[in-house]
Amino acid sequence: MDVWAQLMQGFAVALTMQNLMWCLVGCMLGTAVGVLPGVGPAVTVALLLPITTKVDASGALIMFAGIYYGAMYGGSTTSILLNTPGESATIVTAMEGNEMAKRGRAGPALATSAIGSFFAGTIATIGLTFLSPLVVELGLKFGPPEYFALMVLAFTTVSAVLGESTLRGLVSLFLGLAIGLVGIDNQTGQARFAFGVPQLLDGIEVVTVAVGLFAVGETLYFAAKLNQVNEKLESIKGSIWMKAEDWKRSIGPWIRGTLIGFPFGTIPAGGAEIPTFLSYAIEKKLTKHPEEFGKGAIEGVAGPEAANNSSSTGTMVPLLTLGLPTSATAAILLSAFQQYGLQPGPLLFESNSALVWGLIASFYIGNVMLLVLNLPLVGLWVKLLQIPRPQLYAGILVFATMGVYGMRQSPFDVFLLYAIGLLGFLMRRYGFPTAPVIVGMILGPLAEEQMRRSLSISQGSWSIFVTHGISAVLLGITVAVLLLPLIAKLFRRRQPAG
């Protein structure tokens, strides 16, 4: 079957009344949590995982995906109107966008980011549509050693390439791997690191970890450290529509941002941060109005916003085609698939083609919904920003504890949640990234399985990972990613005066 036929089949799934509703719910929830500080898409999807027992797979996954890319739209609203960015991927938007808002140009800033997000999201979905079948072809040739190598590469790029410190990224990754070890080994039935605690035999739930790190950790940090910091909410004055000149200045950045963002999402490097910074730097170079940068240049909003949206859609390529999550939310989406006994990867495109293509088709629909939700209806979401901080964070914690306790009615989980929250607080305080923890705990057990499967093929010989061509190349890239910065640093140290 060719791509068109499959995509049409997908639209048939996504356009049912029920799935349209799930898509809308997802987009609305996504926008809301994107707008609200202190809660993000990862926590939201984690807290909603229990619905997988009630709702069919396509409905639930369409909604979860909607939350994921909807949060990208919502996040920019907060960055523009509030001087504290909601998500790391919108830091750049916050710089120029907030300046624009201060000068009474909040409307055009919101418009260029919403339209740019729509443009980028749609182009990236087209990319996803046509690239996925090709990656699936490739993925079908992979055996356990190749998958293991690919996962090791994903681990490295997610933790080492992103963020400000390779070392701290790796520490976060290993925390995640350690958490993933807890529980019964699914190949031998051996209990690992459960310390005789029955609640630990089932392993530590991703819900507890995600909610602990992101919601509880964030609340503790905000209460203890940022309570004194003043925030100023800018209001939207005048029309939100863009003038002809705004359009002219936005189109180029949208296109370039989209082209930069998508590949970054697609290669297992993940993260929407780097492409936004790249896009910002490029726009600053190319602009005819360099004097406006830092004082509210529309290019500095349009480009990065397009880049973060296309890269977040791009992360769906490795997730769906190879089962590789490259961001925290993608990792939780992977565990949503697992709740249904599904494993994303090339085989899923054959065995559950209606589901996968229905999900991809829903991206096209969701982006249209989000454009409407975030442009004419933006005033609605701005109201969310007016919720006072004490009640907002108190409410977030009510949801958080309820979701974690409700899983199996065990107070143990609440205390575990608090412990992980403390960990999250420390990580935030000492600059450790949190996403690698989630990716590590979910991808770790899968990588271990592939590793042990490979070794059973090779009858215990570790050479299998280097004698298989693709696996050797992937592991080689991993080593290079880890060592190149070190070598470069040594080089610079040897030649101090240049």
């Binding site: 520490v171 350690a178 051996q190 203890a224 450290k225 914690l397 409700g406 000492y430 042990r452």
Partner: protein, 158 residues
Amino acid sequence: MKAPAGQVAVAAGVTLLGVLILWGSFYLPTGGGYAQVGPGVVPRGVGVLTIVLGAFLLREAFTGGFRGVDEEAEVHLPMDWPSFGWVSGGIIAYGLVIEHLGFIVSSTILFVMVARGFNSRRWLMNAVTGVVLAAIVFAIFNYGLGLTLPTGVFGKVL
């Protein structure tokens, strides 16, 4: 320059975690099965590498501090211990009373304590908001998503 104590403690903690993982893995078999790789192999690897990473962190902490972490800036953001305590207390109290008082009462206690942690002293208003929010959440998750939440003292009334 003196090494920042907090960073040294964090780095030591990571190293200690690695030691614990490695120690725990000695109780797990490494061989057997078709794979000839038992459940103890990966934990050993994770343990050893965590120790190595912990050692690198220690070195950073003692040679000018974690790269990119601005301890100077942290001085201007002092820990607000009372706030930290109120939020922590709220979650711990929730874990202690949830089985006895039920979801709505426990959530209200949590709500009021967290709000106090953010310096809101409108106790009555927060309590009312907490009850209303908890009731809505209870309805959505209990009836909508099928999570079973304890009803506690209100169970007889509802």
